[in-house]
Symmetry: C2
Subunit: 408 residues, 2 copies
C-alpha cells in the first residue's frame, strides 16, 4: 500500500481517471486541492457516515457539500423516491408530484406564490436572473463580490473560457456594506433588473458572516424602490437556516429565491420560488431541461420537506452544530491554538488564526481525517439530521488529534 497516497484503490482509480478525465477530476468535488490523505472516490454512505473506496469510514461533516439534509439513505425519503420510481422516472410530462411539490413550497416558503423546478443551483440562479430581466425589461444584476452563484460564464468563480460580454450587466457590491450597495444601485441607474444575494456570506476560505438586518432591509428597499427583483440565493443555506426561507428570521422577503442542495436529501433537484410581482415574467421565459421533470426527486423532496417539519430538523441541526462548535472551542482553548468559528452553527466554518496560506487548516484536517472525521479546511461544512451527539463527539475526538498535530 502506497502510504504517500489515500490508499491503494483510490490511488489506482485516480491513475485511471487521469487518463480519461481532464486533470483527473473537475469542479467542487475535485480532491486535488485537499490535504494529502483525502480520498477522491467514495464507496458508500449511510446516515452521517461515509466510506471511501479503501474502506475507511468517516463521520461526514460535508453531507455531499450540502444535499444530504436528513442523512444518507433516509428511510422515508428513499421510500418516497422508490415508490415514484416504480411508477415512472422520466415521462412525456411531469407526474402529479410536480404540483404537490410546488404547493408544498408555496405553503412553506413565506414569499412564494409559485415555483419552478430545475436540477442544480446554477439552473435556479440563472432562471431567477432571466425572470428578473423578463419581469422588469431591464438588464443590470447586482451581486456581492466573492459570492458564489454557480459555475456558468455569467457567475463562475473562474474567468477561463468566459468573455467580457458574459458579465456586461453584472455590477458588484460588498456584502453587508450599504454604501457599496447604494453605489451599485446608482451605477445601474434606470436599468436595474435584480439584486442577488446569498442567504449569508459563505465565501470559500474566509470567515462566514450573517447579513445585518440593516443590510437586508437596505437590499429590500433598493429593489422595491427600483421595482426590481430581490433574489435570495438560498441554494446552500436553504432548509438549514429557516423553514420558511433563510431571510424570514430577518423579516425580509425576497421576490425570487433559488433553492437546491438539501431540497431532496441528495437526489438531484433545484427550485425557484417567486411572488406575484414576477409570475408573469416567469411565465414568459423559456427554460427547461431534459430531466427537469424527472419525477422521483420531486417525490423525495415532498418527503424531505414533510420530515424536516415533522422532526423539527433545523432545531436538531442547531443543537448538533452548537455541540460541535462548543467542543471545538474547548479543544482550541486547551491547545492554545486560535480558531475562528463563524456563521450559523449548523453550517460550520473552521479557520485558524494566523493561517493566511491555510497550512494550519490543512494539517488539522489531514490529522482529523486520519482519525475518522471528514472536515474541510476552507469550505463551510454541513450537518444533517442523522448526526447524533455521539457522532459529534466522535468528530471532536478526531479534532483533538488535529489540534495535537498542530501542537506537535
Amino acid at each position: 500500500m502506497n502510504q504517500r497516497h489515500d490508499g491503494e484503490i483510490d490511488l489506482a482509480l485516480r491513475a485511471r481517471a487521469k487518463q480519461v478525465i481532464p486533470g483527473g477530476m473537475y469542479g467542487h468535488q475535485n480532491a486535488a486541492p485537499l490535504p494529502e490523505g483525502y480520498p477522491q472516490f467514495f464507496a458508500r454512505a449511510t446516515g452521517c457516515h461515509v466510506w471511501d473506496v479503501d474502506g475507511r469510514e468517516y463521520v461526514d461533516l460535508m453531507c455531499s457539500w450540502g444535499p444530504v439534509l436528513l442523512g444518507h439513505h433516509h428511510a422515508g425519503v428513499d421510500a418516497a423516491y422508490q415508490k415514484q420510481a416504480a411508477l415512472g422516472v422520466s415521462m412525456n410530462g411531469p407526474a402529479p408530484a410536480l404540483v404537490e411539490l410546488a404547493e408544498t413550497l408555496v405553503d412553506r416558503i413565506a414569499h412564494a406564490d409559485w415555483a419552478l423546478f430545475q436540477k442544480n443551483g446554477t439552473d435556479a440562479t440563472t432562471t431567477c436572473v432571466t425572470i428578473a430581466r423578463a419581469g422588469t425589461g431591464r438588464r443590470k444584476i447586482l451581486v456581492a463580490q466573492g459570492s458564489y452563484h454557480g459555475a456558468v460564464p455569467w457567475c463562475s468563480p473562474s474567468l477561463v473560457g468566459v468573455t467580457t460580454e458574459d458579465r456586461a450587466h453584472v455590477i458588484q457590491y460588498q456584502y453587508n456594506d450599504i454604501a457599496s450597495l447604494n453605489a451599485a444601485v446608482q451605477e445601474a441607474g434606470t436599468d436595474l433588473a435584480a439584486i442577488l444575494v446569498t442567504a449569508f456570506r459563505h465565501d470559500i476560505g474566509r470567515d462566514q458572516e450573517m447579513p445585518t438586518i440593516e443590510f437586508a432591509k437596505a437590499l429590500r428597499a433598493a429593489a422595491t424602490a427600483a421595482d426590481a427583483a430581490l433574489i435570495l440565493d438560498d441554494v446552500r443555506a436553504g432548509f438549514r437556516l429557516h423553514a420558511a426561507g433563510s431571510w424570514e428570521a430577518l423579516g425580509v422577503r425576497p421576490d425570487l429565491s433559488a433553492f437546491s442542495k438539501g431540497i431532496a436529501n441528495g437526489y438531484p433537484l433545484a427550485a425557484v420560488t417567486g411572488n406575484e410581482r414576477f409570475r408573469e415574467g416567469a411565465g414568459r421565459i423559456y427554460v427547461t431541461g431534459s430531466f427537469w421533470c424527472e419525477a422521483p426527486p420531486m417525490a423525495a423532496a415532498i418527503a424531505t420537506l414533510q420530515e424536516t417539519k415533522a422532526s423539527n430538523t433545523i432545531a436538531h441541526l442547531v443543537a448538533m452544530g452548537q455541540r460541535l462548535r462548543d467542543g471545538l472551542a474547548k479543544l482550541s482553548d486547551q491547545a492554545g491554538i486560535g480558531v475562528r468559528q463563524t456563521g450559523p452553527v449548523q453550517m460550520p466554518m473552521v479557520l485558524f488564526d494566523d493561517d493566511a496560506d491555510n497550512a494550519k487548516g490543512r494539517r488539522f484536517c489531514a490529522a482529523t481525517l486520519r482519525a475518522g472525521a471528514y472536515f474541510h479546511p476552507r469550505h463551510n461544512m454541513f450537518l444533517s439530521a442523522a448526526h447524533q451527539p455521539e457522532d459529534i463527539d466522535k468528530a471532536l475526538s478526531a479534532a483533538a488529534a488535529g489540534f495535537e498535530a498542530l501542537a506537535g
Copy 2:
C-alpha cells in the same frame, strides 16, 4: 367527466398547477401548445407504454422526448441504478462509476480521449463552448440558425429575459449550406473558437435533414484550418444514430461532443467528450453542479451502454422506425393525404403537406391520441428498444384513425 378536456384528474391537476406554477407549466413538457386531449400529467410508464393520470394508455412515441432509449423500467439498467443507489447517491466525491463511465465513453466514442459529466444537455453544450474558448483563447461561436442547443440565454429559442450581450459572439450560418458557413467563418476572422452543429437538422416544425457529407467535411475543414473546435451537439441523436458518435458514419470526427438524453435510459445525466487537442482547456475551466457526481445515473449509463451494444439497439430502432415509416406511407397513400417523413427513421418526424399552420398535424395527432398512440404534431419523435412490431402496428392502427379524421 369534462369532455372538453383531458380527463377529470388531468384537468384538476392543471387547475391546481395554474395556481402554483407560472402559466401552469413551463418548458418543452408544457402540454398547452399540444392539441386538445393531450394529457399534461403522467401516472406511470413501462416499456414503450405510458399511462396518463386518468388511466389512459398510449404507445409512447416520444420516449420522454428522448431519454428513454431502452424502454421505461429496463430491468438491467434499473438493477444497476439500484445497486449503486443502495451504496450511495450523492457523496463527498464521485463513486468509481465515474471513472468506469468515462472509460466506457472513451472506448465507444470514436473521437473521445476524455469525458466530463453534467446533468442536462444545456450543461453539456455550455461546457463545450467554455472549453472551446479556453482551449483557443478566442470568442466566436458559429451556430446554425434555428438549431436548438439548450435553454439558457446564449442559446435559448426565446429572447425573453436575454440581453444582446448574451449572444455577442454567436454568429449564425445555415445548416447544410457551405457558402453561409464560409461567410460566418470569415465574419469570425481570427476570433473563431468553435463551430457548433447538431447531428442532423431537427428543428421543431420543419422537415428533418441529414447533413451532407460535403457539409460535414466543410465544417471539419473550417474548424481545423482555424485550429478551432468542431462541437457536435449529439444531445438529441446520441446513441440512436451511431454507437461511436452520430457523425462517425460520415467519417467526420468532432473535437468535442455533447451528450445527454438517451445516455442513462431516463436517469439524469449529460456528458462532454473531447479529444487531446482540448484536454488542456477542459482541465482549466471551472464547471460543476451539486448533483453532477450523483452516482446511480452513472451506473445506469454504464448498463445502458452495455445493453445497447449487447443487443444492437440501433439496428432494432432502425427496423422499428422503418416499419413505422412504411406503415404511415401506406396509410397516407391509401388516404390520399400527403405526408412528409424525414430524417432518420428511428427519430420519426411526420408533417403533412399543405399544412403551414399545423392544423392537419394537430387533427391527426388528436385522433391518434384518442386511439391510443402518443404522436407529436411538430417535434421529432423517438423510438426505443422496447418497441416491438406489435407496438408499431398498434401505433399504425391509431394512425389509421388519424388519417380517417383528416379525411372525414
